[in-house]
């Protein structure tokens, strides 16, 4: 049982730059939590504070109730996988994995057994004698993961581990890592700026911005029910249309959508897949471009005032540039003062 608890942790760098601002998070035993956010949101700094590579300016970090806030990295029960793999090129694969075990003065036969077992786990059995530069990028990342796992850490920390890999390999590896994590039931904190990774791997996603939490929820909830306009815009593609609500109707130029909230300015959020199009002249919007992705199409639309929005359609061949269309949202959300004030399925 390994529970990670982060309470009011802050990090202020020289020059009063606040990287992390009173961040709190509880990660349950065996849970995989993704820290997701744009560059500079503080997610890597937070992970490095959990790993002991940055000293928090304030707050408390505990693992299984034991405070580790000011422990050095070598004294923490954490294992970190770095973005650049960070393998030691002067050692072969076996020595990379055995290094931490040797420091713990384990007997040679036990080291051999543990290293071989973890190599088997990551699908690299028989690769022990290879030098690291003889491995592909994916194999190097597996070695980096194995190097952390062989020490049986209580908390596994993954710092954008797939960022340097190509798309195909990234998709395969994230499935493998998720399988291994679930098999070992190891509590994991995963930093990424790739929403696909977060949505496909995480038990919960923490969306971060400017060192603060925007939303913590299950991936499907974060996608379907974003609590702030930032989350709505950051996760997936979202049309965020600024306008005014008057008598229960959202108005932006020729666009009118029923919205039962108090009168005033609002941001209407519509996913492209929740925006149906009906051919009409002159229509609420005009088709700017149609992109056919094979499985679906994406239609770029211009509102009369020039605002561009997107709609996902199943038959892109039905639309062409310059054509007028009416917009029919099937699911909407609305934001005011940076908070969600309405969400509905129409």
């Amino acid at each position: 049982m390994s529970v990670l608890k982060i309470t009011d942790v802050s990090k202020v760098f020289a020059g009063n730059t606040v990287a992390v601002d009173k961040f709190s998070l509880d990660v349950a035993d065996g849970e995989l939590v993704c820290l997701l956010g744009p560059s500079g949101s503080g997610k890597s700094t937070l992970l490095r504070m959990v790993g002991g590579f940055e000293r928090p300016s304030g707050g408390v970090i505990t693992i299984d109730g034991e405070e580790i806030t000011h422990l050095s990295p070598e004294k923490r029960p954490t294992g970190m996988v770095f973005q650049s793999h960070a393998l030691w090129t002067h050692m072969n694969v076996f020595k990379n994995l055995a290094f931490g075990l040797k420091l713990r003065r384990l007997p040679a036969d036990e080291i051999k057994r543990k290293v071989e077992a973890v190599l088997e786990l990551v699908g690299l059995a028989g690769y022990g004698n290879r030098l690291t530069h003889q491995l592909s990028g994916g194999q190097q990342q597996r070695v980096a993961l194995a190097r952390s796992l062989v020490l049986e850490p209580k908390i596994l920390l993954l710092d954008e581990p797939f960022a340097s890999l190509d798309q195909h390999l990234r998709e395969r590896l994230r499935e493998e890592v998720r399988d291994i994590q679930q098999r070992l039931k190891i509590t994991t904190l995963f930093v990424t700026h790739g929403q696909d990774e977060a949505l496909s791997m995480a038990d919960r996603i923490v969306v971060m911005r400017d060192g603060r939490t925007e939303q913590i929820d299950r991936p499907d909830v974060v996608y379907r029910d974003p609590k702030t306009p930032f989350v709505a815009g950051f996760i997936g593609t979202m049309n965020l249309i600024e306008g005014t609500v008057s008598n229960g109707v959202f108005i932006r130029d020729s666009l009118r959508v029923p919205l039962p909230i108090a009168d005033g300015p609002a941001i209407l959020a519509i996913r492209p897949e929740s925006l149906d199009l009906v051919a009409a002249e002159p229509g609420m919007a005009r088709v700017h471009r149609v992109t056919d992705y094979g499985t679906h199409g994406l239609v770029d639309l211009d509102l009369p005032d020039g605002e561009r929005i997107k709609s996902m359609v199943s038959h892109p061949d039905l639309f062409k540039a310059g054509q007028g269309v009416d917009l029919n949202p099937t699911a909407i959300a609305a934001f005011r003062d940076k908070m969600q004030v309405y969400r509905s399925q129409t």
Partner: protein
């Protein structure tokens, strides 16, 4: 095939036979200069010491000049003091420069910038200025003596005109180059590889011993090879700061040539000096070749 396709198929780096003469021409001038100004004098010097005219004027192979050098205790003492000075300098350079380079590599901020500027400063000071500054500070009745005297302490035993004089001067003179080469090597050790080592439980000295040191071994060899090559054949600092006897090979060669008027003896000393230097040169070449192999 369209022009576009033909253009796309052409490699970025032209490797065709047509371009080969241009490449050879580019390296021809430096190769010629090296052959003319370095290789030829070496061959000439070796030839002049091994093929000499006897009393009858007949030219033949002889190692008499080398036998004379190694049977002369004074010459052997000079070679020994040169080796000792070089070894001491190498040791002190490593002991002084490695911690400074480590500090500069793994620190950030204004202080490391000042330390780096100070460490590189000797590069811009001519050896002769350095030698006179040394004499004024550590020489008899120099600044150190005056300061000690002012607080009632006895004078220091000055290293001026002892074998330690050239050691201090040469170490100071070679600190910038050594630090720059070590820093370059340390630049190849990523922060993440060090953090990864700490993450698996390595303490700071274990990180240094198991992760950093193996990765900069080549840089240490290169730095020491460069310094040793310069120190072994140095002249100004040993001449101005060192003892009259035994003396380092640089001043010894100059004196043998000018004052003793024995050019063959001086050339023999030069060839012997070259023989030692080439060993360190081979260390350097081997290190470079090993790096390129990787």
């Amino acid at each position: 095939m369209t022009d576009t396709v033909v253009t796309a198929q052409r490699p970025l780096l032209e490797t065709s036979e047509r371009r080969r003469p241009v490449g050879l021409l580019l390296v021809a001038i430096p190769v010629f200069l090296i052959a003319w100004l370095i290789i030829w004098p070496i061959i000439n010097a070796i030839g002049r010491t091994l093929w000499r005219a006897d009393a009858n004027g007949d030219v033949g192979f002889t190692i008499a000049s080398y036998v004379k050098f190694f049977s002369d205790q004074y010459s052997v003492d000079n070679l020994a003091v040169t080796l000792w000075t070089t070894g001491m300098c190498a040791l002190f350079l490593l002991v002084i420069c490695l911690p400074i380079a480590l500090y500069l590599r793994f620190s950030a901020g204004r202080l490391p910038a000042y330390v780096q500027a100070l460490a590189i400063f000797p590069m811009f000071v001519p050896s002769i200025i350095l030698a006179y500054a040394f004499i004024r500070v550590l020489g008899p009745n120099g600044m150190a003596d005056i300061l000690l005297n002012s607080v009632g302490l006895p004078k220091i035993r000055t290293p001026y005109l002892t074998p330690w004089g050239p050691v201090i001067g040469l170490v100071w003179d070679n600190i910038p180059l050594t630090i720059l080469i070590l820093l370059s090597g340390l630049g190849g050790v990523s922060n993440q590889s060090i953090e990864a080592a700490r993450d698996v439980g390595a303490k700071r000295y274990q990180v240094f011993w198991h992760i950093i040191l193996p990765r900069i071994t080549n840089s240490i060899l290169v730095a020491l090879s460069f310094s040793i090559l310069g120190i072994f054949s140095s002249f100004t600092l040993p001449y101005l700061l060192g003892p009259a006897s035994p003396e380092m090979m640089g001043p010894f060669m100059q004196r043998t040539f000018r004052e003793v008027n024995d050019p063959i003896g001086a050339i023999t000393q030069a060839v012997i000096t070259f023989g030692f230097c080439i060993v360190f040169g081979l260390f350097y070449v081997r290190s470079v070749a090993r790096n390129q192999g990787k």
